[in-house]
């Protein structure tokens, strides 16, 4: 049952990304072009998503467990370290360069360029995973 829920949740997420315009690299770069021809539309994507996700979390806080599992599996890490900051800064550079973050990239995986991006993304993840062991 949890795998079925995961599929439905993935489909809804992909639908939302496409409807919102986040899968359009030109719109994403237009949104990031704050000091040029700024297109503020995508601000509403985060706004809309945040309202619903904040409500979801408030409901979850009042529950002892999720409906299909014995416990919630939420991130516990609260430390703000150099890995969080340098990693997020590097992610932003890649996001700005081409206009794709991981979710929208995965919606494009059936096209050749999308698949190439996702493959490069996986390589980046694997390299980071190895480097994180040392610094």
């Amino acid at each position: 049952m949890t795998t079925f829920v995961a599929l439905v949740s993935g489909i809804i997420f992909g639908l939302g990304l496409a409807v919102s315009g986040m899968t359009d690299t030109a719109k994403v770069q237009g949104f990031l072009d704050l000091f040029g021809n700024w297109v503020p539309d995508l601000m509403f994507v985060m706004g809309g998503a945040l309202i619903v996700s904040a409500i979801a979390y408030q409901i979850a806080k009042k529950q002892i467990r999720p409906m299909l599992r014995y416990s919630f599996d939420l991130p516990q890490n609260k430390t703000i370290d150099q890995k969080l900051i340098t990693g997020s800064l590097i992610f932003g550079v890649g996001w700005g360069l081409y206009g794709l973050c991981p979710g929208p990239a995965l919606t494009h995986v059936l096209s050749q360029d999308g698949l190439l991006f996702v493959a490069a993304m996986l390589v980046g993840m694997l390299v980071s995973y190895q480097i994180k062991k040392f610094i």
Partner: protein
């Protein structure tokens, strides 16, 4: 239609997806982490979520009249940007969904810091290098 309506609606649909995953499965909808689990641990749940993403987008393009965007063909840029995105989200433990939507939705200071960082570096990158299209 007003320019902000579809982004707002799409954002709320994304929110509904995170709500379902949290309240039913007890999981956070962080795409980069789910994709990592799919690639490294062969998790069936992660695999189906990832498969759902292009399917959902396809529904929007084929049935809801959303125009399907094409990606700019620039192989070296795709490889560089993809690598940096993957490297960064792994090092920073999350991306736009995990930190930007779910994390801030939980009022996590860590996620707020991460989101400010990738928004800032994304804005600076576009300011210096322009748009690729």
């Amino acid at each position: 239609m007003d320019a902000f309506l579809l982004p707002l609606l799409g954002g709320m649909i994304i929110g509904v997806s995170t709500l379902i995953l949290l309240l039913l499965n007890g999981k956070v909808a962080g795409i980069s982490t789910i994709f990592w689990n799919f690639c490294t641990s062969k998790s069936m749940e992660s695999a189906l979520f990832i498969i759902g993403l292009p399917l959902g987008a396809l529904i929007a393009y084929s049935m809801l009249g959303i125009s399907q965007p094409t990606l700019p063909s620039n192989t070296s840029l795709i490889l560089l940007a993809g690598f940096l995105v993957g490297f960064g989200v792994n090092r920073g433990s999350g991306c736009t969904s995990g930190h930007g939507v779910c994390g801030i939705g939980r009022f996590s200071i860590r996620s707020i810091v991460a989101t400010l960082c990738f928004m800032a570096s994304g804005i600076v990158t576009v300011a210096f290098l322009g748009v690729n299209t």
